[in-house]
Symmetry: C2
Subunit: 439 residues, 2 copies
């Protein structure tokens, strides 16, 4: 069935139909139009300067006319709930000017320093509830996300805050919606060329032979990295094809081997001279209701998805790799739980615990470790699902009304691999189209 | 349409149909059968002793036969992901013996002390993903929840851990599912009579004239408290009826008045001699898409739902009320956001920020402050919704397949008002039937 016919039938049946998402293509403008900067926080001035430096047209007056590519909201100076009223209402007035694929990016401030100041904490947390609701109201593939400045003195021009603004405005964040990116330190350096933020880096991607892993390999390559693809020997042929496609090297390796970390490190050093980025993407599912779960299903999932990463990370940290950036694949199943996936959810929740507790070790080497939690990602398999079922599934993703693509996960992984993301550490970023699952 | 007919039609149409939930009735046994205690943590022995003290039959052998009213899982000593395997699989073996309305309650340990120990953090967080998934697999109105012991030395016999076990096993927690209750200190004293945990207390409930507020008034009264019902003068008649029903007093008061806190305090002291519990239940909605939002809709919601609470709390803290327990009503909309509710979600997220930042002030007076976040609660209005629509809505609540009742929210509020809950502070407890919204 062709897309136009399907869309017409869906409209007649009153079923939701998704808008195409704005995805990154090298050379495209950062945002599809003028950016309106609102709000009284110090971030407003900083954002304006940063945006102008990127050649973006900026407007500060919410009363102006003309289409908007994005709205940037400086909510970093809220002291009381009433302070949210004016910028929220100004945003509402401007929303009709936001073009399809547009963006809302808000600067918020974390509540770490708010113990004993419930009025300020209420304002700051209130801004989060506002932003998540706003994200649910946007249409046409537009998204809303926040940058949470962790410390009281951390400014919007911290390298990772700048990098997060860039990522969230761009097509790279197409399927990131209703999320908060926490920037906790001023660590990190901005790239010389925003189109090649991984220039000169050597990146290892496990599970690279297909699907999301192959998409990650292609995205890291596009952004300038040399790529080592890792996968099990049984996937050797597909792995070689991906490695060849990205001009990288292939390493056939079962990551549950106790010496997997050493093998990866040796390969990267021998063939590429260094190791800067590790993407723990390899993972398996062995779904079964817990009542029917056997030891082998449970243990294999935990061994591949979690224990292997713990062991490899220990190897990399022990090797003292300076500036190493690690990105692990978690899952919204690990956040919200999922029927039939007690083992998988345990492993993916474990990954989130792991990155949180490894942040200090990573930072001590000038690097960082974070996780990306995909929601429902469309693959060749889901394309075969009947239209009505897919429409029903979209009820669970009411903002963007579609699953994501492997490249959407890859873009988030790539962002967290940037040197500029060094101030983002120990966190999990969801790529879920503001799915209700694990919201 | 009668229930049996509707159930038969739903079954024919392949639609889900909810099981009746086990709700608390005074005098009922705590659990509907034997409790199986599993897991190697220190909490296993403590739980066994506590349960036997309550006259509950306990079994420690997962291979035994016979129906189970509950499974208690001691996961408080996990050191590595592999440690989760045995108790998880033993739980799976016992699941078929769990009766309708049964309970799984797990003891977990928080990750606060895990920085630098990613292996232990992975195990601890992994247990959360396991538990949330398990909750999604239970049927027949059974639920799974966790008690998170916050400190490394905090034991399962801390008063609030004992109280949380009691609450989660009982029918009081019927609509609490897939949630974690954090116990952070050994504060609190156990009640003399678990059927009358609020004996001798004076409780104020705002918005008490109807709905959830009236249910809270009735529940607090049932549990032994003297109740002051507060509502706006326009609801005076309904308020008087509720107050009379619970043998309490009525206070007609608009809580947005600057002196609302003083008025409440004066009334409670004059008529009841003291004030022990404040339930901030009063709230309004003025839904509108942000693009159509006006200042009055925005500001009235924030004024009633959030600013009034901040002001009243300041009054109560300034008055130095010893042991004061405050419970505020939040919402899953404040967690996940909701289309058309930017103002409401901001106010309810603000409530969560408020309780977090007020915890220290409350604890300094020997009290505590927490929030309850209801999900979809069925009222007289939703009963009129067509069967098919309600069945579709149940897709969003796949675990219990039904909305909650006002009494379910009231029971959670009541639990957090117990003196025994003093070790639970600054938190938000969801009463949402493990709804996917805000999971």
């Amino acid at each position: 069935m062709n897309s136009a016919l399907a869309r017409g039938m869906a409209r007649k049946a009153g079923l939701p139909w998704p808008a195409p998402l704005r995805r990154h293509r090298p050379g495209d403008p950062l945002v599809p139009g003028t950016v309106l900067v609102l709000g009284g926080g110090a971030a407003a001035g900083a954002a304006e300067e940063i945006l102008r430096g990127w050649g973006v047209e900026v407007r500060r007056n919410s009363g102006g006319a003309g289409p908007l590519g994005a709205i940037v909201l400086a909510l970093d100076a809220l002291r009381a709930p009433a302070d949210l009223s004016a910028p929220a209402l100004a945003t509402g007035q401007a929303l009709r000017q936001l073009v399809p694929g547009g963006r809302v990016v808000a600067y918020l401030r974390g509540e770490a320093g708010d113990a004993g100041d419930p009025v300020r904490a209420a304002a700051r947390r209130g801004a989060e509830g506002f932003l998540r609701s706003l994200a649910r109201e946007l249409r046409g593939g537009a998204t809303a996300n926040g940058i949470v400045l962790g410390g009281e003195t951390l400014c919007a021009d911290a390298p990772s805050a700048v990098a997060a603004l860039r990522f969230l405005l761009s097509g790279r964040s197409a399927y990131v919606d209703g999320q908060l990116v926490r920037v906790d330190t001023t660590a990190g350096t901005l790239p010389v060329d925003w189109e090649l933020p991984l220039q000169g880096k050597v990146a290892v991607v496990t599970g690279a032979a297909r699907g999301i892993g192959a998409a990650i390999a292609r995205t890291l390559r596009r952004d300038g990295a040399s790529v080592v693809g890792v996968d099990v020997p049984a996937a050797g042929e597909a792995l070689a094809a991906v490695a060849s496609q990205v001009g990288g090297t292939a390493l056939q390796l079962d990551i549950v081997r106790p010496d997997a970390g050493q093998a990866i490190l040796a390969h990267a050093r021998e063939r590429h001279g260094r190791l800067d980025i590790v993407v723990h993407n390899a993972g398996i599912t062995r779904d079964r209701l817990l009542a029917n779960m056997d030891r082998s299903r449970w243990e294999s999932v935990v061994a591949v998805n979690l224990e292997s990463q713990l062991r490899m990370n220990a190897t990399f940290f022990d090797a003292g790799l300076q500036g190493l950036r690690i990105v692990s694949l978690a899952s919204t199943s690990g956040i919200a739980g999922n029927r039939g996936q007690t083992n998988y959810a345990a492993s993916k929740a474990g990954v989130m615990g792991m990155v949180g507790a490894s942040a200090a070790a990573a930072a001590a080497l000038g690097g960082g470790i974070n996780a990306v939690a995909p929601g429902f990602i469309e693959t060749d398999m889901t394309a075969a699902v009947p239209l009505a079922t897919r429409a029903a599934a979209r009820l669970l993703m009411p903002s963007l009304m579609q699953g994501g693509l492997p490249v959407d996960v890859a873009e988030a992984v790539g962002f967290l691999a940037w040197d500029a993301a060094a101030g983002i550490n120990g966190q999990t970023l969801r790529v879920c189209g503001q799915s209700l699952v694990g919201a």
